[in-house]
Symmetry: C2
């Protein structure tokens, strides 16, 4: 199944090369068991120990130039048609293969903006320049970032199906969690409960075990990207969980918000309800504007402004990112034009992209309200892949 999807993506890569008029795509790596190029899983399907070159041409030809000890493995993985094993140095075979292709442009696996297109380490880049020293290829190297953005961003129907499955299962787990949460528990307890379900069902977590899920409760929480703590869930807390799983190699990433009622409460306090509503509405407003051709910062700004005009501070991160094999996937980002995001907020949204929408705001004295939904970009807009959280989940 993984082989099938890799072959599908390689074919797609060739057509994107052709569309963008780039002759070949060279993914140059070594010791991927230690430092993994993020494209290896999607373009190759196995690790490489010695310096290895994986080449796709715009005509759809594939070449793997690899250490001789890995020849049998590469053959059995079966994702590259032409396999060129070498013993002492990759240089000769690499130049030989490229000489046949006679490329005018060679996209290689580096990018300032997109970490997913930036798997080529600097030392290995210098090594490549050394091999190309007396050739014309040095001047033909370009970043693979637009290829990566298109290839990872444009989901095939099979990829979409896998993502939907991950979302569905995540929602089922959230339902379990709703029944489980009780005041007096700690964040860690809830996280363990979730991780145990994931283990039992044989899924993978979508990101680091340390903070997948993130569980954060009450005012002054550590927040997302932090591990759950021994903080105790108390009546009057707003509680959030940021969580995702990986099924068939594809991720989900969702957030939900709960409120822990006090003894004398049947409904949440007004300010808590308002915070939740503003988040929900921010998502609706942003989703309404998503369509192919828009730039990500435009969508981010809609949610960001709406939250600010309602009297809250802006959220300290982007509105949403793409999801796929990695939980932070693709190129275009629904984020503000901050230096740390490089040019990603300026890239155009494309049909078949999958994005999260995850604004957040702080409700003073109660906690953080966040909802994270996932959407799929259609020809003229987008549709929600997740069943939206329309109401605060209440814990008695």
């Amino acid at each position: 199944m993984q082989k099938e999807i890799i072959l599908e993506k390689i074919e797609q890569a060739a057509s994107i090369l052709s569309e963008k008029e780039i002759d070949m795509w060279l993914t140059f790596v070594r010791e991927t068991g230690n430092t993994k190029d993020p494209m290896i899983d999607i373009l190759v399907g196995t690790n490489a120990t010695w310096e290895s070159a994986f080449i796709i041409t715009k005509e759809g030809h594939t070449h793997a130039i690899i250490g001789s000890l890995e020849y049998e493995n590469m053959k059995s993985v079966g994702t590259y048609k032409n396999i060129h094993p070498y013993l002492k140095s990759i240089k000769e075979k690499l130049l030989e293969v490229i000489e046949q292709i006679k490329p005018n442009k060679i996209a290689i696996n580096y990018s300032r903006n997109s970490s997913l297109a930036d798997g080529l380490t600097h030392g290995l880049y210098l090594q490549l320049l050394e091999y190309f020293k007396e050739t014309e290829y040095v001047d033909k190297l370009i970043s693979s970032e637009e290829l990566v953005a298109a290839l990872r961003g444009r989901k095939s129907s099979k990829e979409l199906e896998y993502i939907k499955e991950a979302i569905k299962e995540t929602q089922i787990i959230f339902d379990e969690v709703s029944k489980y949460i009780k005041p007096g528990m700690t964040e860690k307890q809830i996280a363990s409960f979730i991780q145990n379900i994931v283990k039992e069902k044989g899924y993978e977590l979508a990101w680091d075990e340390e903070y997948c899920p993130s569980v954060f409760t009450g005012p002054d929480t550590a927040g997302a990207h932090s591990g759950p703590t021994d903080r105790i869930i108390q009546p009057g807390h707003v509680l959030n969980i940021d969580f995702g799983i990986k099924i068939n190699g594809y991720c989900s990433d969702l957030q939900r918000t709960w409120y822990i009622l006090k003894e004398n409460e049947d409904t949440p306090p007004e300010e808590v309800q308002k915070g939740f509503n503003v988040i929900k509405e921010a998502i609706t407003k942003a989703a309404n504007e998503i369509k192919p051709g828009k730039q990500g910062w435009e969508i981010d700004q809609i949610a960001r402004n709406y939250i600010q005009i309602n009297g809250y501070s802006e959220f300290p991160h982007g509105l949403g990112h793409q999801v796929g094999r990695s939980v932070h996937d693709g190129g275009a980002l629904l984020g503000p034009k901050w230096e740390r995001y490089g040019n990603l907020p300026l890239l155009e949204i494309e049909e078949s992209n999958v994005f999260t929408l995850e604004p957040r705001l702080t409700i003073d004295n109660y906690g953080i309200a966040t909802i994270e939904e996932m959407v799929y970009v259609t020809k003229n807009g987008c549709e929600f892949l997740s069943d939206r959280q329309n109401d605060l989940y209440l814990i008695h």
Copy 2:
């Protein structure tokens, strides 16, 4: 326990910086969940999403400059004293911290020769140059490769203890396997048997599940770095297993050789016994020459020559590599001066290094003979960490 060992390694890093007269070590990373700098586990202990700088000075000061959402997480990990969270761009804080240190030399995480010192991706390197553009730091950047080689290579007593434990448990598993192997089984069956034991005992595999263990039997095998196949184990086969586990984050890596007796045999054929003996003796001869100050290629050559003068082809890889947190670890390599190994065979062996010794040769019509032992470099020589395989294991 992991925190304790990271703090120990950070302290060791400071003393190596001091020894080599380098003022600071900057590990610059982003999205380590996708592309992991191989030093993150040993120097930091948690992932970083946004551009992040981890700095150690020769005085032993530590600075983590990280995205603001990861502040709480970094604090709870507890490996860096000074944590500087940023929101929109890392540039200002990064320059501010370096300005305080006033370094003359800044080691950064790239290397042509050593993949373990080459975690900085090329795009991110360009980003760093951009931040340093109008500063004097651009001219002060050097490769961290000699720091990495020393830090990963010089094992503390605690690290050595972990490695010994992994070796011991691996040997216990090999004993189980000896009892299990029967003619008629497939390579895959034996690999599953081993992986099930590892799972039951709660260990990790030392490398990729696909080919840990490698099981290869008979003539014309796929060999190491290939996954086990459906090839059937038959009388008259030489069978090898290349296998390692990770306990407490530290690896073992061993190979053993079996011979499947034919019905009328009590002892292996002469040529099989000879092949085994030559491998064993090659290891002894190489180990006898290992001591601090020697270069790796000198040791490789001893085993390589011995095998060739006995009438076999040279092995298509290095004699041995270092082992630690990664199964291919450290800097200095016991390998030939082939281009694919860069300068690693020229580096000096140091006290407290842990190496494998793994020559191999092909016994025509029977299979491949390999033994892989692990040694620890002492003040004047080396000692074996593994219980040597002195006799061919025979399967009736």
